[in-house]
Symmetry: C2
Subunit: 153 residues, 2 copies
DNA sequence: TTCCTAAATAGTAATTTTCTTAATTAATAT
DNA sequence: ATATTAATTAAGAAAATTACTATTTAGGAA
């Protein structure tokens, strides 16, 4: 049985608070999905989350995982990362918004702490009457080791 | 029967040239996928492309559409747009790289002619030994009409 | 506490996307 | 032209994702 760190419980509480504030219900399934991230490393796939959640709640449906991930992503609580081996999700602590460099060969994922969604783009959106609610920015390429393995020939 | 404009043929030829230069084969199916964009408006879905391609080549498999779209996207010939009603693809003429504002309500899609993939990000990638090959940037929100319909309450 | 209601869920079905394999075919050299 | 080879393909199976419907339940009100 995994032990949950204080840090993890803290993150969980903050996420639940966001849900509550926005009027969403705190169901055992929803709580379990959030808690499951603690047992999946930084990035969790849908299948990993399903497996972990079912340890405590065997009847949870796959749809519930997807539905909750979609909601959590809309609220900015989790981020989706598109990797060659399939998609994964990570919990984003409030105020730590960031983006990713993804290696298309091995799937290695690193954070970039600069965000393109600055005034320039918001102004561009405003000009057209768009009300911005979110954005996706991901950079693809070869990580250092795949680069030297594949390109030095 | 759709007539193809000179402009379309020109675009098609340029796309084929890119494929040839990179050593990819010009199969009838591949040519048909590219040509099909001419009959699908600016944005084409996988199903629309399949339907158009099958008018001339009834045995083309769905997998072929997907496989070629993946390749064309890797080469920067087409761009994928993630919309609430499903994904769509558009042909990007060389030198006209751009990004999109997507309305999450109605799916309306507009171009933004500024790209975040500037020196700043390349430098960030370089620092970590990453070799950048591509990127995704999409902005989501509500278009002018959905905005006034939904938010003015 | 009990009741009410909209939200959320399980279970299932449908759809979309990816993978596997054997056969076909375009491009190149002969 | 013909043969060779590696890329591409069709077909079917598998995996991932989304949609549908009847039922359950969290959270607020009485």
């Amino acid at each position: 049985m995994e032990k949950s760190t204080e840090q993890e419980n803290d993150t969980l509480d903050k996420c639940l608070a966001i849900l509550r504030k926005q009027g969403y219900k705190i169901t055992p399934q929803r709580r379990a999905v959030l808690a499951a991230f603690g047992s999946c490393g930084r990035f969790a796939t849908v299948q990993q989350l399903l497996e972990v959640v079912r340890r405590t709640q065997p009847d949870v449906s796959l749809d519930t995982i997807y539905r909750n991930l979609t909601l959590l992503a809309e609220l900015g609580i989790v981020h989706e990362v598109h990797r060659p081996s399939g998609n994964a999700f990570e919990v984003v602590a409030p105020g730590h918004h960031h983006h990713h460099l993804v290696c298309t060969e091995c799937g290695k994922t690193e954070c970039i702490n600069i965000c393109p969604m600055n005034k320039l783009y918001e102004k561009e959106a405003d000009k057209r009457g768009f009300f911005v609610t979110g954005h996706v920015f991901e950079v693809y390429g070869l990580c250092a080791s795949c680069r030297s393995r594949l390109l030095k020939k």
